[in-house]
């Protein structure tokens, strides 16, 4: 259903909060992680951490929390940004609900998946 009009209160503020929290997390944590795992280790600039070392790290509750936050919040950040890229960039406002469901549904799915993987590991 259409959830917004100019007079009714909307839940846009909530999504905006998720967006900005995710933006901070993405800005601070992702560059170093992507640099190390995506470039420095595969290219041999730095020694690859061993499987055992990574497992000991991942098994600690704090690292799990860290990884969960690093996955979940930036996903909602993306969902928000991508939604407005589609709205403004490509001007596909008539697909409002589809885009909304696709973006936040994807973010939610990723969050659940991250939680599941970190729980099981």
């Amino acid at each position: 259903m259409i959830e917004q009009s100019t007079t009714k209160p909307s839940n846009e503020a909530f999504f905006w909060l998720l967006f900005s929290a995710g933006g901070v997390v993405a800005a601070i944590l992702i560059p170093i992680q992507l640099f190390l795992f995506g470039l420095a280790f595969p290219l041999g600039w730095l020694p690859q951490p061993s499987y055992e070392h990574l497992m000991t790290l991942v098994r600690s509750p704090l690292v799990r929390l860290y990884l969960f936050v690093m996955c979940a919040l930036p996903l909602f950040h993306c969902a928000h940004r991508f939604r407005f890229t589609l709205y403004d960039g490509l001007q596909v406002k008539h697909l409002n609900e589809v885009i909304f469901a696709f973006c936040y549904g994807g973010a939610l799915l990723g969050t659940v998946l991250a939680g599941y993987l970190l729980w099981r590991i």
Partner: protein, 143 residues
């Protein structure tokens, strides 16, 4: 290209329908400021890419050393390296624009004067460096 939007007769949330000039879909290509805005928005795809990669990494880790070795091998392929290099540029772009945005979103005043923007943004960069160094140390130290 001046035409009123009259193609949709059904009333939507956007009514009443004002007269609006139609903007080209490629409005952001003409000017550097607009292009920068769209590039910043597109950085979200790189962030999503990274999270996806992390999820695959976690899955590989949970499947054991052989699966994880296969995962790291795959990251060494030229395609993955190229994609990660592009994603890294976008993520850096996001980080820098985000840190520089903070003083605009929250202007700090001291003694009636506005604190210079770079001073407000500086703690962000400091935190960024400290956190990055810590993550690097955690991963690289020999247990």
């Amino acid at each position: 290209m001046t035409e009123t939007i009259t193609d949709q007769a059904a009333r939507t949330e956007f009514h009443p329908r004002w007269y609006r000039e139609r903007v080209s879909t490629w409005w952001w290509l003409g000017e550097w400021h607009y292009l920068k805005f769209i590039l910043r928005e597109l950085s979200s795809i790189s962030v999503a890419w990274f999270v996806g990669l992390t999820l695959f990494q976690l899955r590989a880790l949970s499947h054991g050393p052989e699966t994880y070795a296969r995962f790291t091998d795959r990251l060494q392929s030229p395609v993955m390296l190229a994609l990660n290099a592009i994603a890294f540029c976008f993520v850096l772009f996001h980080a820098i624009t985000w840190f520089n945005l903070a003083p605009r979103a929250m202007p700090v005043r001291m003694g009636g004067k506005r604190v210079p923007e770079f001073l407000v943004a500086a703690p962000n960069y400091a935190l960024w460096i400290v956190v990055s160094a810590f993550v690097g140390w955690l991963l690289l130290r020999t247990p």
